[in-house]
Symmetry: C2
Subunit: 265 residues, 2 copies
C-alpha cells in the first residue's frame, strides 16, 4: 500500500509478538482502522520473549491474508523485528506514518522492555525514524479482556500522529488489566529498576535426563512514584519514553579515569 | 563450582553467542583462565542476532563437557541470556565475580548492541548485579585472527575485577581487526547513532514461492569523535559503558505536556 500525500489518512503499520491470532492484535487493528489506513504484518506464531532477535540463517516468507483498499494483512515466519523490516522494505517499500505494536498479553513495564518482542518492533521502527508505540495489557491470559482500552489507544495514537516524537524516542504504554475500578488516568514515567529472579523447574524425562523449565518471579525494590510499576500498581496507564541509545553517560568519566593502556607485544 | 571466599581466585562465568566451538570463545577462555577460576556455559549452536531472546516454550538441557578443579565447561540448547540464567541458577547456584561474553566474531559497536546476543548476556548479568563485559572483534570470519587481543582483554578484566562497575552499568568493548598497524589505544565512548538499512534479497524457490534473505548495509552519519564508530575507524579499542535503563528521560516533560486524558465510557 502506497501512502498518497494527497490522501489525509495516515498509514499505520501494525505488528505484535503474540502472533496473528492474538486478541490484543485484533483490538489494536480495530482501533487503528478507525484512524488510518492499516497494514498488518504479524508472525505466524507467538514470539514472546524473543527480544530484539532477527532471522539471518533461514529465509523469510510472507503470506497475504487480505488486501482491501484501506486494509492489508500479512503473516510471516519471522520475529517482531523481522515483521517491521519486511513491512517497510518488502510490503510497503517505504515508511508508514506510524508503527504500533501489541497489544501485548502481559506487562512490558520495567525490565520487561528488554525481553519484549513487542517493544523490539517499536525500537526497530524508531531506529528507522518512524514514530512508534508499543501497547501492553497487564493480563497474560490468551482470553484477556481488552474492552476498556479503546480510548487509551486512540488518544495516544492520535497524539503521536499529530505531534510526532523526538528522534530516537518511542513510547512504551502499559495498561492495567480490566477491573471493577476505573483507570485513574495516565502517568508519564521512568522504567522501574525491577528484575526477574529465575527459578528453574528441573525435571527428569522418561529416559532419565535432566531438563529445566525457565520460570521466575518479578522482584521490584523500586517503589518510587515516578516509575511505571508504581503507576500500574495504582491503576494508572504508564507511558515510558524509551530510547535505543544505551550509553551509560554517567559512567564515561569513571571508566576514562582507569586510563586503560595496551601492552603492545 | 563454589566460590570459596578464602580462595583469592575470582570466579569468572564465560559465555558467547557464536556457540561453543567459536575461536573467539576459545580465546576468551584462555585469557580468563590466566586470571581466575572459569566456568563456561555456551550454546550448542550459533545464536547471532538473537538479541535478548529467552527460551520459554521448550525445556533447556545442559551437557557437561569437562569438570576440572579450576575449570568447568557446559553447553546448552539455549540463547546467550539462557546461558547466563542457567549458569547462575543451575550450575553455580550463586553469582560469579564476573561475567565475560564473546569474543564476538563481528562488531557490536553502535546500534549492534541492540541485536547482539553477546551483549544481551552481558546485560542479563548486569541486571543481576554481576559485573559484566562483552568483547567483540571487528572480523566476522569464522577463522578471525584473535592473536592481538590478549593484553586488551587482560587489562579490562583485571580492572573491572579490581574496581567493580556502578550498579546498572556494564561494558561493551570492541576491538579493531588485526592489521599491520598496531592499535593506537583505548577510548571510552558513547554509542554512535548509526543503523542498518535493510536490503532483502528476494528469490524464487523451485516451487515458485518467494522468499527473502535479510541483508543490509551499515549506515553511519554520526562521525563525532566521542563515538565508538570513530574510535574503531581510527584503530582504537572502543569501550562504551552500557545501561539497561532505556528511559528517554529528556522526553518525559514533553510527553507530560500532552496531558493525555482517558475518555471513560
Amino acid at each position: 500500500m502506497k501512502n498518497n500525500t494527497e490522501d489525509r489518512k495516515p498509514l499505520i503499520l501494525v505488528t505484535n509478538d503474540d502472533g496473528f491470532s492474538a486478541g490484543g492484535l485484533r483490538k489494536l487493528i480495530e482501533v487503528a482502522r478507525k484512524i488510518g489506513k492499516v497494514v498488518v504484518v504479524a508472525g505466524e506464531k507467538s514470539m514472546s520473549g524473543q527480544g530484539h532477535a532477527i532471522t539471518i540463517t533461514t529465509p523469510l516468507r510472507i503470506k497475504t491474508i487480505c488486501k482491501e483498499p484501506d486494509y492489508e494483512e500479512y503473516v510471516c515466519n519471522g520475529t517482531p523485528v523481522d515483521c517491521v523490516k519486511l513491512g517497510e522494505q518488502v510490503i510497503l517499500n517505504g515508511k508508514p506514518d506510524l508503527l504500533v505494536s501489541g497489544i501485548n498479553h502481559g506487562s512490558n513495564a520495567s525490565i520487561n522492555v528488554i525481553y519484549s518482542g513487542t517493544m523490539a518492533a517499536v525500537l526497530e521502527a524508531c531506529i528507522d525514524f518512524i514514530p512508534a508505540i508499543g501497547f501492553s495489557l497487564l493480563d497474560y491470559g490468551h482470553d484477556a479482556d481488552f474492552s476498556h482500552v479503546d480510548s487509551i489507544l486512540e488518544s495516544v495514537i492520535k497524539k503521536v500522529l499529530g505531534e510526532g516524537l523526538p528522534t530516537g524516542v518511542c513510547l512504551n504504554v502499559n495498561i492495567p488489566a480490566k477491573s471493577e475500578t476505573p483507570i485513574k488516568g495516565v502517568r508519564v514515567c521512568r522504567q522501574a529498576q525491577a528484575r526477574w529472579v529465575e527459578e528453574f523447574d528441573t525435571r527428569i524425562d522418561p529416559r532419565g535426563g535432566d531438563y529445566h523449565w525457565l520460570t521466575g518471579k518479578f522482584e521490584n525494590d523500586d517503589h518510587d512514584e515516578e516509575t511505571d510499576q508504581w503507576a500500574l500498581e495504582n491503576n494508572y496507564v504508564s507511558i515510558v519514553p524509551v530510547q535505543y541509545d544505551m550509553t551509560a553517560y554517567q559512567a564515561i568519566d569513571l571508566v576514562e579515569k582507569w586510563k586503560l593502556e595496551l601492552n603492545h607485544r
